[in-house]
């Protein structure tokens, strides 16, 4: 990479430190996200939320963790045991693998050891494709989990996973295609550098931004599109038979995915980790990710969810044509201007 030549050399030690950093910090944040979610939802419904474990209920996370780890791990009698056991790992693992190609924190050098820790664990030149592909592969988790557990609700949940996957994936790809055309690269670093002049991509590509957000909600199974585990209709969908830490892995994967979507939205559309006036870039990116996380909770408090057929209708008949038109218009404008 040309951009890498100006920076210190990326060593294996730096990458490993970065990987451990991502794993530790994101897993902690993903767990902490459950607390944030419960608290924010409670406030929006004028409740107090968890507050008895520790100050302001902050240790609720620890209590939940102890509960999850000590719960009995039940595998149903007629379930396909191997797939049943592997499925949660797929969700959690793909969520973290996706984060490998995403710039999460700014790069820094450990002073005494002189180890340079890059901002991306591995700056693959097709970063955005890798991340979206990994998140899409994560959908195998719910799909296999639902089919392996020999439960009607699980089967319905995995069927819904399949249609959701088929619906939003097209929109995700087409909506990020227009920014990719403008930047001319698939690397997140190039996306960030493209917006270094202070003009965010969302100014050029508002339609693509909205489409990507909608598809991102579908990708993370968040509320308007949480058909996979909709309690009111299908008990818990694909997690009906799961208990203990296997169930917890699904949750960690979901929250890590929320963070990933927040990171992609921030870097591709919202100016990335560039400095903003006097605010340093690392505060900006954390602020943007935090806001997108909050936005997902906010939407969950405010909006109802939709039916599977409405999701397919929305994705195939509304969003996909809009995305195609957006790509075509972007292409024409680029041809005329550039």
């Amino acid at each position: 990479m040309e951009t890498a030549t100006m920076l210190p050399e990326v060593t294996a030690a730096g990458v490993i430190i970065k990987a451990v950093l991502i794993l530790a910090v994101i897993a902690a944040i993903a767990g902490f996200g459950t607390y944030i979610e419960r608290k924010i939802l409670a406030f929006m419904q004028r409740r107090l939320g968890p507050q008895h474990v520790g100050p302001y209920g902050l240790l609720q996370l620890a209590a939940d963790g102890i509960k999850l780890f000590t719960k009995e791990d039940i595998i149903p009698q007629h379930a396909n045991k191997i797939i049943f056991a592997v499925a949660p790992v797929i969700t959690a693992a793909t969520a973290f693998i996706a984060l490998a190609a995403v710039p999460v924190f700014p790069d820094f050098t450990i002073p005494l050891l002189d180890i340079y820790v890059p901002s991306i664990a591995s700056d693959v030149n097709v970063g955005i494709l890798f991340v979206l592909g990994m998140m899409a592969a994560g959908l195998y988790g719910p799909l296999l989990a639902g089919m392996a557990q020999a439960n009607k609700w699980g089967i319905i949940g995995s069927a819904r996973t399949a249609i959701q996957f088929l619906s939003y994936e097209v929109v995700t790809g087409l909506s990020v295609l227009a920014p990719i055309m403008m930047v001319g690269s698939l690397s997140f670093v190039d996306f960030n550098n493209y917006q270094a002049d202070g003009t965010w991509m969302v100014v050029y590509q508002p339609v693509a931004f909205v489409l990507f957000l909608i598809a991102g909600f579908a990708e993370t199974n968040r509320t308007p599109f949480d058909l996979l585990e909709n309690e009111a209709e299908i008990i818990s969908g694909y997690v009906t038979e799961y208990s203990g830490m296997r169930w917890g892995l699904f949750f960690i994967g979901e929250y890590a995915n929320m963070i990933t979507i927040g990171v992609i939205a921030s870097i591709v559309f919202l100016g990335g980790y560039n400095d903003f006036w006097f605010i340093p870039g690392w505060i900006m990116i954390i602020g943007k990710i935090a806001f997108s996380f909050f936005f997902m909770l906010w939407v969950r408090a405010a909006w109802p969810h939709i039916r599977p057929d409405q999701l397919m209708w929305l994705c195939w008949k509304v969003l996909m044509p809009l995305a195609v038109v957006n790509v075509v218009v972007t292409g024409i404008v680029m041809m005329i201007i550039g």
């Binding site: 924010i40 406030f43 929006m44 419904q45 004028r46 409740r47 107090l48 906010w298 939407v299 408090a301 405010a302 909006w303 509304v318």
Partner: protein
Amino acid sequence: MSLEQFKNRNVGTQNYVKLDLDHSPTSGWCQFKQVVKRTFKPELFVGLWVTLREMGNALFRGKMHTTQYPFEKLPISPRYRAIHDMLRLMESGNYRCIGCGLCEKICISNCITMETKYDENQRKEVSEYTINFGRCIFCGYCAEVCPELAIVHGQRYETASEQRASFSLFEDMLTPIDQLNLQQEYQGFGAVSPNADENIKKTPLAY
């Protein structure tokens, strides 16, 4: 109106007032217009605003709705028929019960048991008085029939207990002698709750 007219359920031939509902789209263009209208209507953002406003109300204006139950309790109505109280006479501190046995007699679930005897002043003394709360249906007849306002319904509605004996003995229901000045007169079955004024609201016709 004759019976035949009532039996005519044929909607098309009568003067029914139909609701002014939106017509469902007929052509593809109409469907497209509906989609555009629904897409750009700011209703979704109204929803977002409402939840955010409620969050602000809850956090900054003290409109949190939660009652932290075991630590704080809402006032209950004085009509509420909870665990019984045995009241004392304010002047002498003696218990009011004269041992007439009317409550035992009227109790429809046969849960009141009392034994009486004459004391040295030839006054009736209650030697044994229990209410079997496993049987009591809290009908309130005992309080209603009591000529001395001695047995009344109190405010203890948390009736879960490890032992029935915890609150079914006479001494447990009797006002403690050191709290005699705090003894509340039973307001009766028609009384309004102390916060009745606050609870009055407009009928929500606007919804």
